[in-house]
């Protein structure tokens, strides 16, 4: 079989009995065996448990038992989501070999839906980065161009989907960590509304911003996956108390009359002109399909990045305090308990993690709280307000996903320059809204460009409709195996 098939088609074929889950899993594992040494999308490939789960699906279908909507569909899971009995490392030496005694809620829901987890994907250490280069276990290569980064922090998940290791992947998005790698790798990536998907079992970077979401080759597959993982979870107090939205059945409702606003602040300085051109082309495509398109100013978006780099690290400095060598993970022995903790954290965390812990600790310190964390929270309020104002006039907003296309591995050494990758994405996390990145054309070098559709909280159904329209209108990519470029 071809590993290029969509999750929806695979699931349908397996349910209909036309194909076995084991056969599908074997095909994807074979593809992983062939290309993983080059791509390095995974921290661990879970071939054995995947085949066992697939066999169980086949048995259930043969016995006429009901199976879930993702029955037999391979999926790659970001390695900051806890998997019972399978190492969960956050790509950090701190958690190397740590085996959680419990499953994240989303992992439970995947299993209930019948999905087959084929492995745990690489990420920037503790999801802090935009290139997967801060992983303690080596960089992931962009399947489109092996000299380039896949983006981050969900770089392994985006690469796994782009390389057809699995039609679906779970990522996490704190400031763009699903959408940016999706854009870099030419796949679809969704940051759901805050609270739509449970965070229980997601190893936190920044609790008020983190959200689990899908990566897929098609918009419809992303919608299918989101339906399977969304919905209230009593184990997450920030989970929205309502059922998962119905997305797939509304995908083809069209965009006639949809009010689309292009965010002015994200269409100028610092954004690659090729990308701006594609966003405009995307807007025209939506207009051609019956939407109305205008430019709209969302002023506070310009401050999103600086506020994000205070709030995110502030929460991270506290969230990562538990990694002290006392109860789990790495321990570097030393004569006293305090020295042990210092030695463990010194050895266990990489530079970017340490940088953000220090930044966040400082931002929360007595005497600096008001000037940094407090002020960033005010900016956050302004961002929410400006988005709310824009959504009074528009159903969805449009912008680039990233300021540039995928850059070369090792080409960005300066952290601040790296942070600029998040220019177009952090505001959505700050507002708690949803956004999707859809592949739309390429730059002059042939690298994928992502167009971002933003929608208000719980506006996923509308957002997906616009995304499907974009997908339909997107310029055809050069055909051929993506990793054979």
């Amino acid at each position: 079989m071809s590993t290029a098939e969509s999750a929806i088609d695979i699931a349908a074929a397996i349910r209909a009995g036309g194909r076995s889950a084991v056969e599908v899993t074997e095909a994807h594992l074979a593809r992983i065996t062939e290309h993983e040494p080059t791509i390095h999308a995974f921290n661990e490939v879970t071939a054995e448990s995947a085949l066992a789960a697939a066999a169980e699906i086949d048995r259930a279908i043969a016995a006429g038992e009901p199976v879930g909507p993702l029955a037999g569909v391979p999926i790659a899971v970001k390695d900051n989501l806890c998997t019972k009995g399978i190492a969960t490392t956050c790509s950090s030496k701190m958690l190397e070999g740590w085996i959680p005694p419990y499953d994240a809620t989303v992992v439970q829901r995947l299993a209930a839906a019948g999905a087959i987890t084929v492995g745990k994907t690489n990420l920037d250490e503790f999801a802090m980065g935009s290139s997967t280069e801060t992983s303690a276990f080596g960089v992931t290569r962009n399947p489109v161009d092996h000299t380039r980064v896949p983006g981050g922090s969900s770089g392994g998940s985006a690469a796994a989907v782009a390389a057809q290791f699995a039609p679906l992947a779970l990522g996490t998005d704190t400031g763009g960590s699903i959408r940016q790698p999706a854009a870099f790798c030419g796949v679809v990536g969704v940051k759901p509304t805050y609270g739509l998907v449970s965070r229980y079992g997601l190893i936190a970077y920044a609790s008020s911003l983190d959200q689990v979401g899908p990566l897929a080759n098609t918009v419809a597959d992303a919608a299918l996956l989101l339906e399977a993982i969304a919905g209230h979870d009593a184990a997450d107090a920030t989970s929205i108390p309502q059922e998962a939205p119905r997305l797939v059945e509304h995908l083809d409702d069209g965009v006639a009359g949809l009010r689309v606003g292009i965010i002015t602040e994200l269409m100028g300085d610092g954004i690659d002109p090729d990308i701006i051109a594609q966003v405009r082309a995307a807007a025209e495509a939506l207009a051609a399909a019956g939407a109305t398109v205008e430019e709209v100013s969302v002023p506070a978006v310009s401050h999103g990045l600086s506020a994000y780099y205070l709030i995110g690290p502030a929460e991270a400095s506290s969230n990562l305090a538990r990694f002290d060598g006392v109860r789990f993970g790495l321990r570097v022995d030393a004569p006293t308990t305090n020295e042990m903790m210092v030695a463990t954290r010194t050895a266990g965390f990489g530079d970017e993690v340490k940088r953000r812990i220090m930044l966040g600790t400082y931002a929360l310190s007595a005497g600096y709280y008001d000037a940094f964390y407090g002020k960033a929270q005010k900016v956050r309020t302004l961002i929410c307000r400006d988005f709310a104002t824009a959504y009074e006039r528009f159903d969805v907003l449009l912008s680039p996903t990233t300021p540039t296309t995928a850059f070369e591995i090792g080409s960005i050494a300066d952290p601040l320059t790296m942070y600029l990758n998040d220019t177009c994405t952090t505001a959505t996390n700050m507002a708690g809204d949803c956004a999707i990145s859809v592949p739309f054309g390429t730059d002059a070098a042939g690298l994928p460009i992502g167009v971002q559709v933003l929608a208000p909280a719980l506006g996923e159904a509308t957002m997906f409709r616009a995304a499907v329209a974009l997908e339909a209108a997107a310029p055809a990519l050069a055909q051929g195996e993506p990793d054979h470029r």
Partner: protein
């Protein structure tokens, strides 16, 4: 949020309210080494473990005394990826407390208090900081003094460390053991205003607080198990002044007795320091029970910067006013009202030892029932306070107790016999006092039989009788015991001591 640049002109509390110190009839004044006189200003912080089934933020059991590290789950251990969920019962108990002390129950926000310590699994404690659930209550002590309650907030307890080697502290320990059973146990931290003016008031405050917590089912209040822990914020000022001087926080006060001792010691220490030109620095001090002193734990300069910020994993707790009203309406009668009720019925003051003890043990309903069934109130108090003082307070139906007291009043039973009958009735409440008395042979002696017995004793002890008959009241008093003892022995305890004494006196003066 406070910052280093804050310098309020009027001293304010943690919620920005001006600090007031009330006058009192009972103010501890200590005399410093130079003879100057200093008065106490004291506020108390009480941590009460809440009587929930599970922990503050997880489903792990909240139970004291189990094997180490058995009441744990991934949340308790702070495992990566775990999230807290607020225990609704803990919120309800906090609201109960707020209602019991006439406080305002309001929208509250959990914050993170960040500091590293091996028995704190996440290396931050989830607590309420600037927006506590309960504010502005008050508690009236049995002596009538009113202590304001600034706030009460919910938080989670830490685990328990045992440091092996060194001085039993983490510094210098060879290794440390951590028991996480206590980690995550719900706590209500109750902060009084600096309205406590004497060691006795401090003891009364804690005792009264404990009585309320127990009566309302909020906490088991067991200080010996650490269910209730008290810290005292102490300062002194020249007698009669309105100053507010630097205070010290005294920790490790584990009983009412140590609380009084610690306050008296610390007040004297500070007074001497002020008097000799020294400076009291704001710091945390450790009460040492064995040497009866307080010792520096950490000064303000060394204190951690806790970097409080709102807990992003939780949403604000905003109790529905209807729910609060429902809880308020469901509160049981509080100890103060119960003492007043019993005092009214018995004519004793509300501060009487028997009244306080009976209410404290929760036996006042029984007392009220017996009195309402017609029993003589003071005898009821004596029986319950003294004869039913067993662990937890033995129970006896009101009509049984009333019947017993009636027999005693009528002279059918002596006090000694009544006590014995009472014990039988407690053991088997299906019996009646009359039946027990009969079974034990406690028939009341008629005067004739008593007289015969006394005459026999007089005849057998002529020397003592002569002394009794001719002696002054002092001698007669002494010998009354001798003769009544003989009467009791001869009648196998059936005689009424009072009746025997009366008869002896009658015969002596005849």
């Amino acid at each position: 949020m406070t910052t280093a640049t804050d310098s309020p002109r009027v001293p304010t509390d943690s919620l920005g309210n001006p600090i007031t110190v009330p006058d009192s009839d009972d103010i501890l004044v200590v005399e410093a080494s130079d003879g100057s006189r200093w008065e106490l200003v004291c506020g108390l912080e009480v941590h009460a473990e809440l009587a929930t089934v599970t922990k503050m933020f997880s489903g792990a059991p909240n139970n004291f005394g189990d094997d180490p590290n058995t009441n744990v789950d991934p949340v308790t251990l702070g495992l990566p990826g775990t999230l807290p969920v607020v225990n609704q019962r803990a919120v309800e108990l906090a609201i109960r407390f707020g209602c019991a002390v006439g406080a305002e129950v309001r929208r509250s926000v959990f914050s993170r208090k960040n500091y590293f310590y091996p028995d704190m699994p996440k290396n931050f404690q989830i607590s309420q900081f600037d927006l506590p659930i309960v504010v502005a209550g008050e508690l009236e002590l049995p002596d009538g003094h009113v202590v304001g309650i600034e706030r009460a907030h919910l938080e989670e307890d830490t685990g328990k460390s045992t440091h092996v080697g060194g001085a039993g502290r983490i510094t210098g320990a060879v290794h440390s053991l951590v028991d996480h059973n206590r980690a995550g146990v719900p706590l209500l931290e109750i902060v009084s205003r600096p309205h406590v003016r004497s060691a006795e008031q401090a003891r009364q405050y804690v005792a009264e607080l404990r009585a309320i917590l127990v009566a309302c089912g909020i906490s088991d209040g067991k200080m010996e198990e650490g269910s209730m822990r008290v810290d005292a914020n102490i300062s002194v000022r020249p007698e009669g002044s309105d100053d507010l001087n630097s205070r010290c926080e005294i920790k490790n006060v584990n009983s009412l007795r140590s609380l009084g001792r610690a306050i008296e010691y610390e007040a004297k220490r500070q007074a001497d320091l002020h008097a000799t030109g020294g400076k009291v620095v704001q710091e945390t001090r450790h009460w040492d029970e064995t040497d009866g002193r307080t010792h520096t734990m950490r000064s303000k300069e060394d204190a951690d910067d806790y970097r409080y910020f709102p807990e992003p994993d939780l949403v604000p707790v905003d109790p529905d006013p209807a729910w609060v009203a429902e809880i308020a309406a469901s509160l049981p009668m509080l100890p103060a009202a119960r003492r007043a009720r019993l005092a009214d019925l018995t004519g004793e003051p509300g501060t009487a030892e028997a009244v306080v003890a009976i209410v404290d043990r929760g036996q006042d309903d029984q007392a009220v029932g017996a009195i309402q069934a017609g029993a003589e109130p003071r005898r009821v108090l004596v029986h319950i306070a003294q004869n039913l003082a067993g662990e937890g307070g033995a129970e006896l139906p009101a009509d049984r107790l009333a019947e017993l007291v009636a027999m005693e009043v009528s002279g059918d039973l002596t006090a000694t016999q009544a006590k014995q009958v009472l014990a039988e009735l407690v053991a088997d409440p299906s019996l009646t006092a009359a039946a027990v008395a009969k079974a034990k042979g406690f028939e009341a002696m008629d005067t004739g039989a008593l007289e015969v017995a006394i005459d026999e004793i007089i005849a057998a002890n002529p020397t003592e009788w002569e002394q009794f008959r001719t002696g002054d009241p002092k001698v007669r008093g002494k010998l009354t015991g001798f003769f009544v003892g003989k009467v009791m022995k001869a009648t196998k305890g059936q005689a009424d001591g009072k009746a025997a004494t009366a008869l002896l006196n009658q015969k002596a003066t005849a």
